[in-house]
């Protein structure tokens, strides 16, 4: 029954969005984590999303449509988390305990404004997936009442 697939699809979307929210939280929490060298400084983390193809889940079952070479999709997955390679902020703070010999500390390359926008976007996307799941649920509940009354 393909209605059941919708739960998996919406569930995968919710998992991906909550992971994105998780990285946003981590980035914002560490936005002011200063350190003395470029190697140890926190860098903004971003999840990379990729679509799951159904052919990947069960390779023996080829796509049912002639025109669709990959078959229908089956949700979204997080391929990995990458660290942003944007430039770190160097600030002159000689009184900072972590300052190096020249008196500089390195601040993470987290753009808080961008993170806030990302947070709103991911929470909206999460809501959207919840909506989809609720609708699929009511569709399924209706089908169970078929032929009654």
């Amino acid at each position: 029954m393909s209605l059941g697939n919708i739960f998996d699809i919406a569930g995968s979307g919710m998992t991906a969005q909550s992971l994105r929210l998780n990285t946003t939280a981590s980035n914002i929490a560490n936005a002011e984590t200063a350190s003395s060298s470029t190697d140890t400084t926190y860098r903004a983390r971003k999840p990379v999303f990729a679509a799951i193809q159904q052919a990947m889940l069960n390779p023996d079952q080829q796509g049912f449509g002639m025109g669709s070479e990959e078959g229908p999709g089956a949700g979204v997955r997080v391929e990995g988390i990458v660290e942003s390679d944007a430039e770190l902020q160097m600030r002159y703070e000689p009184n900072h305990p972590a300052a190096n010999e020249e008196g500089y500390v390195y601040y993470p390359n987290v753009n808080v404004v961008e993170e806030m926008a990302d947070m709103m976007s991911s929470s909206r996307s999460f809501q959207m997936n919840v909506d989809v799941m609720n609708t699929a649920k009511s569709m399924m509940q209706r089908i169970l009442t078929l032929g009654q009354q």
Binding site: I9, A10, G65, G73, G75, S125, M128, V132, M139, G147
Partner: protein, 132 residues
């Protein structure tokens, strides 16, 4: 004249199946609203219905020779087609989340309508069997 389920239920059974399939495709679009490079897809509901209707009424063109061409429109077998984006984003994603959600809701409503028709067919059959 025997009553068969195939004839009694009419087109609504096909419609319901097509609606479920479309819901799945649209849900997948929504789940991938933030996936870079993902292309939004959809099924051609009208073509699917046309095909179901042709096969039910028997007015559809049949191919009896290997040289005969398929006259049904593309997408009649429920193949996934790609959507033409209005505002493609810079990462190659063509999902318009609001438009997709509207389509999903509309599809759910149409599903309920099809369901209602199917359900009343069943209650009609029940009435006929009971002879009330």
């Amino acid at each position: 004249m025997a009553i068969t389920f195939d004839k009694a239920l009419g087109i609504h059974e096909h419609a319901l199946q097509a609606r479920v399939k479309r819901a799945e495709v649209l849900a997948n679009n929504l789940a991938n609203a933030d996936t870079p490079g993902y292309k939004a897809r959809d099924v051609d509901f009208q073509a699917m219905m046309q095909k179901a209707q042709d096969s039910m009424t028997g007015f559809g063109m049949t191919t009896t020779h290997s040289g005969h061409m398929d006259t049904s429109s593309p997408g009649a077998d429920g193949e996934l087609l790609y959507r033409t984006p209005h505002q493609p984003s810079i990462d190659g994603n063509t999902v318009d989340a609001q438009a997709e959600q509207t389509r999903f809701m509309r599809n759910a409503m149409d599903y309920q309508a099809s369901f209602q028709f199917l359900s009343s067919r069943f209650s009609g059959l029940t009435k006929a069997l009971k002879g009330e």
